[in-house]
Structures are given as C-alpha cells and as structure tokens.
Chain length 569, copies 2
C-alpha cells in the first residue's frame, strides 16, 4: 500500500500515513492540490510556516507504463499567490513509486538559516545537514549528491535562485542518466522549497520493489495496449520522437503564434534557424554526445526529449524544449540554437524557469537594456543572475516583476506568470486557458492547438479550453505526460483500463475525468479564497488593443465570456 | 461657477465643462474618486490609455479659510492596483480655486515619448514641449519652471522616478514660498503622471478672482468662527504649531507604536534624538533659515510644517514630517535628524514617497544589504536611485516589490503600500484602517490614535476605524487638512456652516458625512471590480504571529471581524 510522508521543518519530525482505499486513485496534481487546498491557509505568507510543499507521484509511478512517471510538485505559489502544481519528467516519481511513496509533504519552516538535504529510502527518511551545498548550482549539487549518496539516486534540487527565494526559481529533477534538468519550473516552486531550507531531496530506491497492483495480468495487458498504440503511431515517431517539442516552431511560426520580440509579433524571420528540423539536423550532423530522441522517464516510448551537442559534439544542454526556444529564442529575437542552448543551460544550472526568464529577458530588451537579438547580451544577463547582482535579482524574480521594476507596460503574463510560447491572439483557445487557468499562463493547463477549430476566431474557444483543461488536469492527476494523449490517439479509456487493473475497482474514463474536474474545482476554490478572482482571469490589455500582425487579429474574447468556463458542463 | 478641464494626451485636445448645481459640493477626493470610479475600467493597465489622472481642489479652495486648500490627486494606483487619492498641501489647490477650476483630468497616453508641461491660467490651457526638463530633479525643475513661467506660479512636478514609472513615485507641489516639496506621495501617483508624459503642471493664477460664494457675509462669519476656534486652541499651539507632526515621535515611542528596524519593535532607543522636541530645539538653536512653525498652505493658522536647517543655518529640507522620521529614521534604525533630513531631501528631489522609500530601505537592511542604523549606507542607496541603477530601480518600486525581489518575508505593507509610522499592533484601530482602507496602508485614511479606547486591545477597533474612515474621507473630500479636526476641536458642524454659506443651500454635518460615505462606497466598489477583495483586507502575517515586544501584543483582529467594517452603520 502506498504511503504519505510528512516532515516538519521546524523540528525535523517525520510521520508516515498509509493511503486509504479512497485515496488510491489520488496522485499527482490531484494529491498536491488536495493537500494544499485542504491544509494551507490561502491567505498565508508563501514563505511562512503555514505554506506546504508537496511532492506527489501518480498512481502508476514505479511501473514501466510509458509516460506515466511524471512528478507533481505543489504549494501556494510564490509567483502567482494562487495554488500551484508544476510537474516534471525524470526518474524521481518512478523511484517514489518503487518505494511505495505517493507523497512527501514539507511543513513549517526551519528555525534557523541552515540548509539541509532530505534523504528518502524505503526504510529511512532523514534530514541531513548540507552546509557545503549552500549556493551550489544545480549541476554542481547533482554531482556532489551522487558522490555522497550513490550514483543511482534520484534527485530534486534547487539552485541559488531557489535559495534566494527568487520567484522564477524551479526544481530540477534527474532524468534517466542523472542530469538534474527535468524541471518543475513554474510558479516559483523552487523558492518555496528554498523557504523550507531544503537544498535537495534524495530518492534512494535501492531494494524497493514497486507499487502493489491488484490485478497484475490485467495491468500487463492494459500496459501492452498502450505500448502498442504508441509504437504503431507513425505521427508520434515522425514528430515527437524525431523532432521533439521543437517541432512546434514551424507550426506556430506559420500560424503567427510564435512569440517574437516580447510578443510583438507571431512570426520570426529566423524561425528556420531554431526549428525542430534544424535541431534534428544539427544534432545528427555533429554526432558525439548529441541525441535527438531521448527518454526523460523510465519506460517512455515517445522519447520527445533530446541531448543537444555543441560543434565539437560535446553535450551542451539536455533537453532543449520548444518553450525554451520560443521564450529565450524568438521572444528575445535570438535565432541561434547554440546561444539558446547556453541560455537554457544557465537557467538549469541556476535553478530557474526558462519561460519566465525568457519573458524577463524579452522585457529587459523592450526596456532598452539591450537590443532584441543580442544573444551575447542575454548571456551577460544570465551572468548577472549568477553573480546575484541587483539586476540579476530583478530578472530572477520573473517577467512580471521585471516589467514592473523596469517600467515596461507590455508584460505577457497572467496571474504574474509569463505565457508559454503560444501567442494567445493566434491560438485563442490557449488564450482562454492562460486567462482562466488556476495556474496562471500555462500551456499544459489546457492546450488547444490541436483542436479542430479556427484558432484566430473567438467562437467556441471557451468550450474548447474547458475540455482541454479537464483532460490536461486528468492527465496531471494520473502522473501521465502531457503527450500521452497524442501517443495513444486520444484513446483515454486506456488509462481507465489501467486504473481498473491497478486498484481492482471498476474505473471508467468518466471517473478519471471527474478526478480532473474535482481537482480544478478545489484549485479554483483555493484561488478565490487566496484573493484571485474574476478580475485576474483576463489577458493583459495589450493583447486586446494590439493586433498580432502575423495572425492578423487581436484577442477578442471578453472577460464575461471567459467566465462562462466555470459554469459550462 | 467652477469648471472641469479635460486634456487628451494622445491628441492634445482640451475641453472644459461647468460643474452642475449638484456638483458644487463635490471636490477633492470626492471628485477624483467619482471620476475614476465612473470613467476608468478597473481592469485597465495602469499605464495604458484607459487610466486617468485627476487633480481636484476642494470646494473652498481659493479662499483663505484655514486648512481648506489641500489638493487631491487620483487615479488607478500603479502601486496598489486599486483606486487612489493622494493629497498634498501647498498652493496648487488655492490657485485652482482662484481660477475657478475644480478639476483637471489627464486622459489617454501620448503617442510618442516626448514629455510636456501642462500650463493652466484663467484664460489658457496649453501643452508646452518640455524636452529640456527630461530627467530633471524636482527641485531643479521647479527652478527652471519658475524661470520659464514666472515666480508666482504654483507647480505640480514629477521627478526622474515618475518619468521612469517607478511605483514609489509621488508628485511634488509647491508651498507658499515655491518649494516643490508638498507631496501627493502615495500609491505611485507620480508614475501615473509619468505615463501621461507630463513633467509638470503649471498653475498661473494671475488676474484670477477666486471662487463664487453664494452668501459672502455668512461665509465670512463661518470662516471667522473657524479662525477663532483654531487661534484659541492652546493644545494646537503647543503641539502642532510648535512641534509639528514630529511631536508624534515621543507619543508613539511611549506606546510601542514607533516603527523600529522594519517593524520588529515599537520603541526606539534613540527616539529622543529624532523627536519633535529635539527638532524644535535644533531649529531654534541653529537659527538661520530654519523655522519650526511654517504654513504649507495659504491661510493655514495651524502651521505644523517646518523648515529644517543644517548646522550652518542653511535650509536642509522643508518640511520634515513625522512619517518620514518614523520610516526613514527609526524604521531604519537611524537616530539622527540631519541624516534623515538628507534622506528626505533626496526623496523630494527624485520625486519619491518617503514612506515607501523608508520601508524599502528598512527591508534592504533586513535583507542584509546594509546594517540597521547605517545612515551613510542609506544615503548611498538614495544615490543608487539617483543614478537609476538596478538596485535604485528596485528601491524606487517601493517596499513591497523591494521585499519580493530581495527575498524578504517581513514586508509591512497592505495592498502593496508600506504602512505609515504607526505599528498596527500597538494601535489596533489604525491596523484595521491599514487592512480595510480602499487606499492601502495609509494613516490619513482613518487615524484612530486619538480615539478614547485601549489601543492594544481588539475591542471596538473596527467600529472606531470605521468612524475615523468616514470623517477622514469627508475631510479629504472638502479639501481640508487632516489636522483641521483637532484645530476646531472636532466641531465639524463648522464645515457644514461654511458649505451652507458657500453654495447657498442648507448643508448639515450629516450631509457632509454622506459625501464621505458615498466616496468610500464608490472606492470600495472600484476596488472590487479591480480585483481587490476580502483577502486583500488583511495585515501581513507577521503582525499576527510576531508580538511587538514594546506594545506586548500581536495583532489579533481577524479578517472576518474586520470585514464587518463594510456593513456597520
């Protein structure tokens, strides 16, 4: 039976509790949001003793089901002030599942300023003094932690940004090879971990035997069905596996949806230079450590991740994702993958969200601190962050506050979180998601780009976003990856079959969707109690007043219209 | 008959409209809040074309009634995101009243980045190119403007901080002698003026003959009654006139209410060194340009203002107020009036609110950038602001954002505005005002320190704050100074008598209070539509969890209890 572990940071006490029968299906985002919603005062100081940080694995974590080992990390967000779940690939949730741990909750705040490591194995939960790790970068810390705790452990680490309580700080999680670069990046969740005085959580699953499964044969069959569906899916092979998320560049560019120069345009003249095709060819051509098709999680068959190598074939950064390219590339006018790779690496190393940092750099460019397209200048800004200068601190607080401090009027953020790499005027459904999501401007909260409707027209976008939000939330609750839907050709019943076999009760797709809806309701309720209301469910004014010249339209769905999302069935 | 002037910043068009009969009593805060509430989209970008900046004089402006020439400046606040009225003494409202101008509304935003001067005389309203004024400090600009427009004009000026859209930027207004240091300081109203591209408004009342008064004899009699009441008030002479607002230092210090070291204590070991008594003695001893009893407005008999001189007798800054001493002095651990005077001057010169800047510097000290008590270090921080460095930009954005950027958990602000110099644990009524005021943490929004109740107990504080908020709002609406109530021994009927004589209709005190209540209702409604709700009507968590060791109590009035303020009759 799975268990929950709670650690009090003020006195170091550890308690364990078994999941009840009712809770067997509750994992991932369903679990983080349930705990935050039920146990955290929405009015609390995000860095105070009343906020909690929750790590949650999905129900299927620890199995080798493809795409089912995402890790959810939640809390009251330092960035948005609302509820937050940020999820990451990598091997952490897998190891949690192996150890039979569904969730870990960090409660309270330490009484002194010393930082600690939280070590978790199947037999032991322990806080370890970690003075020497203070101010270490994420890559440095990963290496030192493996030295201290063994090469096979999974890690969730914050960088200096998290220690400094910077609001763009994320949490880096290890991938299959131990790179700490699978990020739960958004919402300042790394700063929340910093406030708990925890530099890293070490997941040591040695000797662990995996989750209990009610009907193993049935489970095997359900898993096999998913495997077959993905392996037979040629589109997945052609796009996700070969090009990965960067394959999106050409698509959004042609739609006028690729954020360019602080969301002033939707097409970028150098899109070809930063496209998935270009990346694939570059990686292939350079050889060496590069790899265009890489699994970030144990068991993943889609392999949309990549290892990007420099001209000498040496690993430059892994992975380089579409969102990073869109925000740190075109959004900054930077049309060169090698430069973007360096910016990406710097964010990973310092423990920062590439989306909010790309937004912040684009805003600094709009403020005139440097020119759009100045890659060297952007790298210098990352050095400011590394040196923790005042300018670095501004940037590390994310795009919203960077804009406020620098006096920039055009800030592409919702609920203070910078938008992902889809211009909401060109893809209006995701605009509705940005505006109404409990999470702030987030693409995984309700992606509509693949929906069959006219993306530049306002019609049916609210309904489309709502459906996407329910499905995406369901996926987050199950610990599945966002791409599973494409992988299994939207045959979501397969997930229900898996659940039926897993816990032995009957489970329908409708049951799973209801977990998603319940989670959204809890999150919305938390946000309202936290003071985020209707007036926060809107896009920044300039999307309404400035036409996107490449999509040839402004955003034109009113707040009133978008509010209907909360009453639609 | 009084008139309203509207100027569109996008095309320079000017329109004038006469006040209707119904509007004769509507001035000051009643007018700014009415216009903002009725005409501004609460969801608008504060620096965008839909926000408006309103200058409003009280009904009695332009007469020599004591304390009746305050100037209200309003808009959607860049700092709080809610409605804002910030008022100042000085001679601007007097000159508006002389010219028969009740209000001036700046609408839209300029289409280019050039800055302009708005010149207003009885016959002419004109936008004048002002390139040479760009980046001028407030004192420099005042001198240059007097050179250009004549020595007798009244001025409302922003400094570099307002031009940079810094959220702690205020608007400096000239006093009787032309010093541009009577500040409408709060809520970032100077940044709003900056976004309108207006460096200064010049008020040239040459040849103007003053407001129309319905019954001049009656008015004279009512004015005489007020004059007598103030002149016969010995307490006013002993405290306000002699010691001015700094007389408050000893009072709050003894109550444990004097903010000390970022609101960690309520008494300061060097309080004697920064007290009103000390200031009075220092000014007297030094002689020269110093003056302990100075009128900031035409006609003022209370003369609580002062001119503080340095050791050589040369004017150092005028005025130096209690709030500045509390925030830039004790709150920063600085116990030396000469240093505080320099910090005060720097704020005035750069166009910044001393309260939010004192809060920001205290927070920087808590963050470890410098030690508490380091006056030289604080002055260096003001140099950072002057040089517009990244650190300077952080500080000029006010205390809330400084704390967020520097990772400080204890930020003494409500609705993002730093508290005035009264610890809300020691004076709980003002704590209720800070939490529930439409304006954010503001002492003039509802001061309870003189109410007859136990200030450290929670009982009756909500009711007391409410009464104070109504009376204080009424006073703001009439263009009266906050101190008038003490001056006339709370015989507020005198204001009603003045109004009866002024407009010829019968006016009761209840009528005037209703103007205050109406204004509060409009403001609250605006804030709700702007997204500021119940969860914003609260003090920061640490006031609930940390006892003020000098007042020996924490804040203990719940959000639910405070919400009753909106339903009390």
């Amino acid at each position: 039976m799975s268990e929950m572990i709670r650690i009090r940071m003020d006195n170091g006490s550890v308690t364990k509790e078994k999941l009840s029968n009712d809770e067997v299906r509750i994992g991932g985002r369903a679990l983080t949001s349930k705990i935050i919603s039920e146990e955290v005062d929405p009015a609390c100081n995000v860095f105070g003793s009343n906020n909690k940080l929750v790590f949650a694995a999905g129900p299927f974590a620890g199995t080798t089901v493809s795409c089912a080992n995402r890790l959810s990390i939640g809390g009251k967000s330092p960035l948005t002030g609302g509820i937050k779940e940020s999820n990451a690939g990598g091997n952490v949730a897998y190891k949690m599942g192996k150890m039979g741990i569904r969730g870990i909750v960090l409660e309270g705040v330490p009484t002194n300023k010393e930082i600690q490591i939280l070590y978790v194995s199947k037999d032991r939960v322990e806080l370890v003094p970690a003075d020497k790790y203070q101010e270490m970068t994420v890559y440095q810390a990963a290496e030192a932690l493996r030295e201290q705790f063994g090469k096979k452990v999974g890690l969730a680490i914050i960088g200096p940004a998290g220690e400094h309580l910077s609001m763009a700080a994320g949490i880096g999680c290890t991938d299959n090879e131990g790179r700490p670069s699978r990020y739960a990046a958004r919402g300042g969740i790394g700063a929340l971990m910093g406030s708990k005085g925890i530099k890293a959580v070490v997941f040591d699953d040695a000797g662990a035997k995996g989750p209990e499964i009610a009907d193993k044969e049935k489970f095997k069959a359900a898993q096999k069905a998913i495997t077959q569906e993905i392996l037979n899916n040629e589109q997945v092979a052609e796009t996700y596996t070969k090009l990965g998320t960067p394959g999106m560049v050409n698509i959004t560019n042609s739609m006028g949806a690729l954020p360019t120069r602080n969301f002033s345009r939707g097409s970028f003249e150098k899109a070809d230079e930063i496209s998935g095709q270009k990346m694939y060819e570059t990686i292939k051509e350079r050889g060496g450590e590069g790899n265009p098709s890489h699994s970030c999680m144990p068991g993943c068959l889609i392999r949309c991740s990549n290892v990007y190598a420099d001209a000498s074939g040496k690993e430059s950064v892994a992975p380089m994702e579409y969102e990073t390219i869109g925000l740190m590339g075109s959004n900054c006018g930077i049309g060169d993958l090698d430069t973007i790779a360096k910016l990406n690496y710097a964010c990973n190393d310092l423990g920062l969200d590439t989306i909010d940092m790309g937004g912040a750099i684009g805003i600094a460019m709009e403020a005139g601190l440097l020119e759009f397209g100045d890659g060297e200048g952007a790298l210098k800004l990352m050095e400011e962050v590394r040196n923790n200068t005042p300018l670095g601190k501004i940037l590390a607080s994310g795009g919203q506050r960077t804009g406020e401090i620098l006096g920039v009027k055009r800030i592409p953020a919702c609920k203070k979180q910078i938008m992902a790499a889809y211009d909401p005027r060109a893809i209006k459904g995701i605009g509705v998601t940005y505006a109404t999501s409990t999470m702030g401007a987030d693409h995984t909260a309700g992606q509509t780009i693949r929906a069959a409707l006219e993306h530049t027209k306002p019609d049916k976008q609210v309904e489309t976003s709502r459906q996407a939000q329910v499905i995406n939330t369901m996926i987050d609750c199950l610990g599945f990856c966002f791409f599973t839907g494409s992988g299994i050709n939207k045959k979501f019943e397969m997930m229900a079959d898996l659940m039926t076999a897993f816990d032995g009760g009957e489970c329908s797709l409708e049951d799973l969707k209801e977990i998603g809806r319940d989670t959204l309701r809890m999150e919305k309720d938390f946000n309202i109690r936290a003071g985020l209301n209707e007036s926060d469910d809107i896009l920044p004014e300039f999307f309404y007043t400035e036409e996107n010249p490449d999509a040839k339209t402004a955003f034109d769905i009113s707040r009133e219209e978008m509010q209907k999302i909360f009453t639609l069935e």
